[in-house]
C-alpha cells in the first residue's frame, strides 16, 4: 500500500508547477481570455515537452505513461488555469486510444500526441471545451462514441473565456467502435484532476489573501467565519483529490474498479470545484467580484468542468445504479442461491 506518487511522478508535478508558474501567469491567462485566443507559444512549448501525448502509447508517438501522469498534468494546468487546448486534446487522445480502430488510432494519435492536431471530447449537443478550432472531436451519444471533424463544430461563447467552446450535433462523424465506457471513464478522471487543480489554486489564493487583508485591525483570516470556510475548502479539495487519484490509479492498475472510481471522482470534484471557487470569491470580498482579481477565471473554469460529461448529480446517479446492482439478488434473510453474481458486499459473500 502506497497512496502517493512515485519519485518520477512527483518530479513531473514539480516541473509542471514551476514551468506554468513562469509561463502561464494570470496576466497571460487574462490577456488570452480577453483576446479570445489560446496561448500558442505555451502550447508549442508543452507539445515540445510531449505533454499532450503523455498517456498515448509509444507506438503512436506518445510517452506511454499512464492516466496517473496525465492526471498530474491536468491538475497543474487547472491550477494555472492555462489558456491551452490541453484537456480537449488529451481526452480525445485517451478516448481514441481506448475505443478507436487501428486506422483511427494511426490517423489521429501521432498528431494529437505531438500537439499538431487539436482535439476535444464531450457530449453530443452540449458545450464542449476546446471544440471550436479542434481538428477532431470525440462525441458521446447514447452510450456510444463518434469521431466528428472540425467542420461539425458550432462555436459557442461560454462563460469561461480561457477556452474555446463548441457544440456538435448528434450523429455527426464516424463511429468510434470500441469500449465507450472505458474511454469516457478515463476522460472523467482527467476532468476531475483539472478540477482538483482549480480548487487548490482557489484555496491557495484565498489563504494568501485572508492572511494579508485586515479589517477591524485584524487579518480577516483570523475570524472563524473566514478560517472555517478555508478549512471547508481544504476538506473539499483533499476529498476530491483522494477520489481522483484513486480513479487515476484504477484506470492504470485495476480497470475493473474504474467505473465506480471515475463516477465518484467526477461527482466529488465537480462539487468541490464549484464550492471552493465560490468560497474563494466570498472570502475575497468586493475584490473577488472584480475582473482584475483573477478568482473568477477559476470559478468559471470550475462551472464548465463540473458540467463537462455530466455534473455531480449525473455521476451520483451512476453510483446509485452500481450500488443497486451489487445488492444480493435475494433478501438477506433467505439462503442465497448462487454467489456467482454477488459482490464482496453482498450478504452471501464470505467476506461479509
Amino acid at each position: 500500500m502506497n497512496f502517493d506518487f512515485t519519485e518520477d511522478q512527483h518530479e513531473i508535478k514539480r516541473t509542471a508547477r514551476d514551468l506554468l508558474a513562469k509561463r502561464s501567469t494570470f496576466e497571460k491567462v487574462r490577456e488570452h481570455a480577453e483576446a479570445g485566443t489560446y496561448d500558442g507559444g505555451l502550447w508549442k512549448e508543452l507539445a515540445g515537452l510531449g505533454w499532450p501525448g503523455i498517456a498515448v502509447a509509444e507506438e503512436h508517438g506518445g510517452q506511454g505513461l499512464g492516466v496517473v501522469e496525465l492526471a498530474i498534468l491536468c491538475e497543474e494546468l487547472g491550477y494555472a488555469c492555462a489558456a491551452t487546448p490541453f484537456l480537449g486534446t488529451a481526452t480525445a487522445a485517451l478516448a481514441i486510444e481506448a475505443a478507436g480502430s487501428d486506422d483511427q488510432k494511426a490517423a489521429w494519435l501521432p498528431k494529437l500526441a505531438a500537439g499538431e492536431a487539436r482535439g476535444a471530447l464531450g457530449l453530443a449537443g452540449q458545450l464542449i471545451p476546446d471544440a471550436a478550432g479542434a481538428d477532431v472531436v470525440v462525441v458521446a451519444e447514447d452510450g456510444g462514441l463518434r469521431l466528428a471533424g472540425g467542420g461539425d463544430v458550432e462555436a459557442v461563447d461560454a462563460i469561461d473565456p480561457t477556452r474555446r467552446h463548441g457544440k456538435v450535433a448528434g450523429g455527426a462523424g464516424e463511429p468510434l467502435g470500441g469500449d465507450a465506457a472505458a474511454a469516457l471513464d478515463r476522460a472523467l478522471v482527467a476532468v476531475a484532476a483539472e478540477l482538483v487543480g482549480v480548487s487548490q489554486r482557489a484555496l491557495d489564493m484565498t489563504v494568501a489573501y485572508v492572511k494579508d487583508r485586515k479589517q477591524f485591525e485584524t487579518p480577516v483570516g483570523a475570524y472563524q467565519a473566514v478560517s472555517h470556510r478555508c478549512a471547508q475548502m481544504l476538506l473539499h479539495t483533499e476529498g476530491a483529490r483522494s477520489a481522483t487519484y484513486f480513479g487515476a490509479w484504477a484506470a492504470d492498475a485495476e480497470p475493473e474498479r474504474l467505473p465506480e472510481a471515475a463516477a465518484i471522482a467526477k461527482a466529488a470534484a465537480s462539487e468541490a470545484g464549484k464550492e471552493v471557487t465560490a468560497s474563494a470569491i466570498q472570502a475575497h470580498g468586493g475584490i473577488g467580484f472584480t475582473w482584475e482579481a483573477d478568482v473568477h477565471w477559476l470559478y468559471k473554469r470550475a462551472q464548465l468542468d463540473a458540467q463537462l460529461l455530466g455534473g455531480a448529480r449525473t455521476h451520483r446517479a451512476a453510483v446509485a445504479r452500481l450500488l443497486a446492482g451489487r445488492l444480493c439478488p435475494r433478501p438477506s434473510w433467505q439462503e442465497c442461491a448462487s454467489t456467482a453474481s454477488c459482490s464482496s458486499r453482498c450478504c452471501c459473500s464470505p467476506r461479509r
Binding site: 489563504v207 483570523a222 478560517s227 481544504l234 477520489a243 485495476e254 451520483r316 446517479a317 444480493c328
Partner: protein, 380 residues
C-alpha cells in the same frame, strides 16, 4: 502509487480473517445493559489477547505483533468488517499503552502494559472537566505533593468507562504559578480508592457510557507520574494523537457497514427507485469512499514522511459529519419505525450527535486545520 496490499500485508490480513471467522463473541447484549455489554467486550478481549490479536500495533516485547501502521489499519478494518466489537479496554490499548511506551519508565511499562492487553485492568481517560473541555489546558484539578504521594482534589467529567476502570489517565495541575500549559502533570491514578467517586452520567441515548469523577484527597504515588512533573501537556498530546489516529479505520468501516445496511433496507422497501433517495445514498457512498481513501493517504504520509499530511486532520471531521448525515437520513427514510424507542436506527441517530463533540469538537478541528495546516492567524 500502488493501492494494493503488499505480500506481508496480505498475509497479515488473511491470517486475521481466518482468525476472525473462527472466533466470535456471540450476539451483543441489549444496548441498554452497559454492564453486560462491558463483560461481553472484556471476554472478547481475552479471546483476542490469547492469540495476540489484542494489541497488534504494540511491540512484540509487550505482547503485540509489532504491526506496521498499515497493518494496524487493516486490523481495525477487518475487525469492523467482520462485525466484531472493539476490545473492552480500547482506551488502554489505543491511547494509554502507546503513551506509556513513549513516556513511561521501564518499571512503569513492566507494571502496567501486560494488564492492559490481557483485560485484567481497564483504563479510562480523565482529561475533561466541567470548566475545561476544548480548552483542556485550563483544567483546575489539583495535585499536591505529600511525602511520596500526590493528593488530588477536583472534578472530571465525560469520563468514558470510568465505572469499570482500574487506572485513570489523569491530567492535573501541579504548579499553580506556571503558565497554563506548563503547570500540568500526567498521572496514572488508581480508581479503587476512597477519594475517587464515580457517578454515571446518562446520555441522550438513555445509556451511560460516561461518568463524572469526584476527586477528594485521592492519592497517587510519585512512581505513577508519567513523563515527569510539569510535562503533562506534552504527554496528554501523545494520548490525544493516538486517539485520533488509532480508531480512524474502525470508525470508517463502521460507517461503511451502517451505509450498506441502509442501502439494503431501502432496497427491501423498494425505495432505491426514488431518485431523491438514490442521489442521497450515492452522495453518502461518495463520502464514505473519500473517507476511506483519505485515511489511506494519511497512512502513506505517516509511513513515508513520519508525519500525517494535511489529510490527517480531515478524517475525523469527515467521519463525524458523514455519520450524522447518514443516521439522520436513515431515520427519515424509514419513518416512524426508526423513531421508536429501542430501534437500532433510533440509537444510531442519537449516538451520532456525540461524534462531532467526542475526541475534539468539529469547531476545534477546524481551528487546528486553519492554524496548523493552512497557517492562518489565530484570533487574539
Amino acid at each position: 502509487m500502488d493501492l494494493t496490499f503488499n505480500e506481508r500485508e496480505t498475509a497479515f490480513r488473511d491470517e486475521l480473517r481466518a482468525w476472525l471467522a473462527a472466533n466470535d463473541p456471540g450476539p451483543r447484549p441489549e444496548d441498554a445493559d452497559e454492564d453486560a455489554t462491558f463483560e461481553w467486550m472484556r471476554s472478547w478481549q481475552r479471546t483476542m489477547a490469547a492469540d495476540k490479536w489484542a494489541g497488534v500495533h504494540w511491540p512484540e516485547e509487550y505482547g503485540g505483533r509489532g504491526a506496521t501502521i498499515t497493518e494496524s489499519a487493516i486490523f481495525f478494518e477487518e475487525l469492523g468488517r467482520a462485525r466484531r466489537p472493539l476490545p473492552a479496554n480500547v482506551l488502554g490499548i489505543v491511547m494509554g499503552g502507546p503513551t506509556l511506551m513513549v513516556w513511561g519508565t521501564d518499571e512503569q511499562k513492566e507494571r502496567f502494559l501486560p494488564h492492559i492487553l490481557d483485560a485484567s485492568e481497564h483504563w479510562c481517560q480523565g482529561f475533561s472537566e466541567p470548566e475545561a473541555g476544548s480548552d483542556l489546558a485550563a483544567l483546575k484539578t489539583r495535585a499536591v505533593k505529600d511525602g511520596d504521594d500526590w493528593v488530588v482534589t477536583g472534578q472530571k467529567v465525560w469520563t468514558s468507562g470510568a465505572q469499570y476502570a482500574k487506572w485513570c489517565m489523569l491530567v492535573a495541575r501541579t504548579d499553580m504559578d506556571a503558565p497554563k500549559h506548563k503547570g500540568l502533570t500526567y498521572f496514572l491514578m488508581d480508581m479503587e480508592q476512597e477519594g475517587v467517586q464515580v457517578r454515571p452520567l446518562r446520555q441522550i441515548t438513555g445509556s451511560a457510557e460516561f461518568n463524572e469523577l469526584f476527586l477528594e484527597g485521592a492519592r497517587i504515588p510519585d512512581a505513577n507520574v508519567i513523563g515527569g512533573v510539569g510535562n503533562g501537556w506534552k504527554v496528554a498530546l501523545t494520548t490525544l494523537m493516538n486517539e485520533r489516529s488509532g480508531l480512524a479505520f474502525f470508525l470508517q468501516v463502521r460507517l461503511r457497514q451502517l451505509l450498506d445496511d441502509v442501502i439494503e433496507e431501502a432496497a427491501s422497501r423498494g425505495l432505491l427507485d426514488d431518485p431523491v433517495v438514490a442521489d442521497k445514498l450515492a452522495d453518502l457512498h461518495v463520502k464514505a469512499e473519500i473517507l476511506r481513501l483519505t485515511a489511506y493517504r494519511g497512512l502513506t504520509a505517516i509511513e513515508k514522511y513520519g508525519q500525517p499530511g494535511p489529510e490527517g486532520s480531515l478524517t475525523k471531521w469527515l467521519w463525524s459529519d458523514t455519520n450524522q448525515q447518514l443516521t439522520s437520513f436513515a431515520a427519515e427514510l424509514f419513518g416512524d419505525w426508526a423513531y421508536t424507542a429501542g430501534n437500532r436506527w433510533a440509537y444510531e441517530l442519537m449516538r451520532a450527535r456525540g461524534n462531532s463533540i467526542e475526541g475534539g469538537t468539529t469547531e476545534i478541528l477546524k481551528n487546528i486545520i486553519a492554524e496548523r495546516v493552512l497557517g492562518l492567524p489565530r484570533l487574539k
